[in-house]
Point group: C2
Chain length 324, copies 2
């Protein structure tokens, strides 16, 4: 009776789950990602989150068959290392994450790119289960993407799936990545916040930052955008529609190139805004879609916030001794 652990390591949160052999969630826990210290502190926080998930599942520390981790940065699964995870504290170098976690739980540890893991989760267990090819779009602070073709993740030379950096306007806005006109320059929650602050400086009215202060936050989280839309804030509507438009254009370009069966929209903002905005992305895609007589199915990610962590348990299952 195998028990798998899965951890989604994000810039703001660490999500851990424990699942059974059918990848049904038995227990889960969410801890904030340390903003100070270094990789060792992050690893400790991951171990803490996993221990809490094990507690909730009634599974002992030593009973995990294997652990999987979806991580940002450059992953070397064979070496068990994560390098240059730049949105994590002091993680410019190479850290032996698999070894640390493996020692804590006495189990093999698999590592993979966080977006690849989330895409594979939706493909194997989530909204894209009925399909054979898939484009995953993860709409959060940035916009990540993952590709599955003929049942296999396609990651090129390790850098494929960067749908956030598909160009939508070659002489357009500057992207947080430093390049011009990327989709993420319009659609990333980070870029949307930058634009909102510019607009406020230009004298535009919005309740976005009032809600932020009420909530005691320093950033415009997905929940804040959602609240502002519900309260019919004009600037929030304008910036979200602009984001939806950019995502639609980039998805259309990607479809014209790849012609996959389905597109799954996930990520913090994607999941928070949900179905009505998935429909808006579909509508924004259509005018630029070449094979518009046969559009792909555009779907909301069905594993929600747990998608990354549940996806990581698929990695764990691959690392389990029976598969070794």
């Amino acid at each position: 009776m195998a028990r798998y652990g899965g951890i989604d390591l994000g810039g703001t949160k660490i999500q851990a789950v424990v699942v059974d052999e059918d990848h049904e969630v038995l227990g889960s826990a969410r801890h904030p990602t340390p903003t100070e210290g270094g990789p060792a502190d992050v690893a400790l926080a991951m171990i803490g989150a996993m221990r809490e998930a094990l507690d909730g599942a009634g599974v002992g520390d030593g009973e995990l068959t294997a652990v999987g981790v979806g991580s940002p940065g450059v992953i070397d699964d064979e070496a068990g290392t994560v390098t240059s995870a730049r949105n994590l504290p002091d993680w410019e170098g190479t850290y032996p994450l698999a070894g640390k976690l493996g020692a804590a739980f006495g189990a093999p540890v698999g590592l993979a790119n966080d977006v690849t893991v989330a895409t594979n989760a939706e493909f194997e267990l989530g909204a894209a289960k009925p399909y054979n090819s898939l484009l995953g779009v993860f709409w959060g602070t940035g916009v990540g993407g993952g590709i599955v073709l003929d049942g296999q993740v396609w990651d090129g030379r390790g850098g494929a799936g960067e749908i956030g950096h598909v160009v939508v306007k070659y002489d357009g806005r500057k992207c947080p990545c430093g390049r011009i006109g990327c989709m993420e320059a319009y659609a990333g929650r980070g870029a949307m916040e930058t634009r909102a602050r510019e607009k406020v400086d230009e004298g535009e009215k919005t309740i976005l930052f009032d809600i932020m202060e009420e909530k005691g936050k320093t950033r415009l989280s997905s929940g804040i955008w959602q609240r502002a839309l519900e309260r019919d804030d004009k600037l929030a509507h304008h910036l979200v529609e602009r984001a939806v438009h950019a995502i639609g254009v980039a998805v259309a370009s990607s479809m014209n190139l790849l012609d996959v069966e389905a597109v799954v929209i996930g990520g913090g903002l994607g999941i928070r805004l949900g179905e009505p905005y998935v429909e808006k992305i579909r509508e924004a895609m259509m005018p630029h879609l070449f094979s518009d007589h046969r559009p792909p199915d555009v779907l909301l990610a069905s594993l929600g916030d747990l998608g990354g962590a549940v996806g990581a348990t698929l990695l764990a299952a691959e690392k389990a001794p029976a598969h070794a």
Copy 2:
């Protein structure tokens, strides 16, 4: 000792070749594509071109092991039909092209999409031979594309590879396809000619149309663009640079998504303008390339004008009785 025939069916020309088992060209012939009549007339012209290629190769009509055809339109290789080849005369419906050619040469006939065939030719026999993954960009009247991933052509649900319709500017020029801001709206030879005519109507000076008249043509062919560039025509330089820029942006977007090892630039205009313009496309790609520390190799197609026909002989080899 097998002898394969290959035919590249284009909107303006029919190129036929006869090759040996190593796909070395033994004979070739090029005939104009009929502009009147219907599919049966086109089939006759194809048979005529192949007979001339056989003559040149010293191979008898009945000695072909198999024939391959790269064709525009919707291909059904199993049924042996081509449907909706809209740049060919009166070819809206379905025509049994494989049956017609098979009867003429007493050999099995394989059909595939012309751009797929040309991409595969560069992958198996041409510039991309050393690589395992490839984006082919065929720069002509339109801009077609083909994708090879892990040694296999990826054509999605039959409509992949439309790099000409990757969006470079969502609120940009209208494309011949009717959509807005496609790369082809800037880079297709058709769109470039439209723009040149607009500029002339606006009073701009150019020798493009003088060269066209000298050559007794009604369209700005690739040779005319090349001649005008050589004579330092300002408008020709401007429009070709604009095209190169759009191709570079679309190739960068495609790389950000696919991260393949190599990009091969072919097509009538690509081959005519050659290496210096391949280098310009590479330069135009770089600013929008996400993994710019590891750009793909960007190469000129090495099979030249015969690429499509030679690629079709690969199809023929697959159809040969030994493979059946």
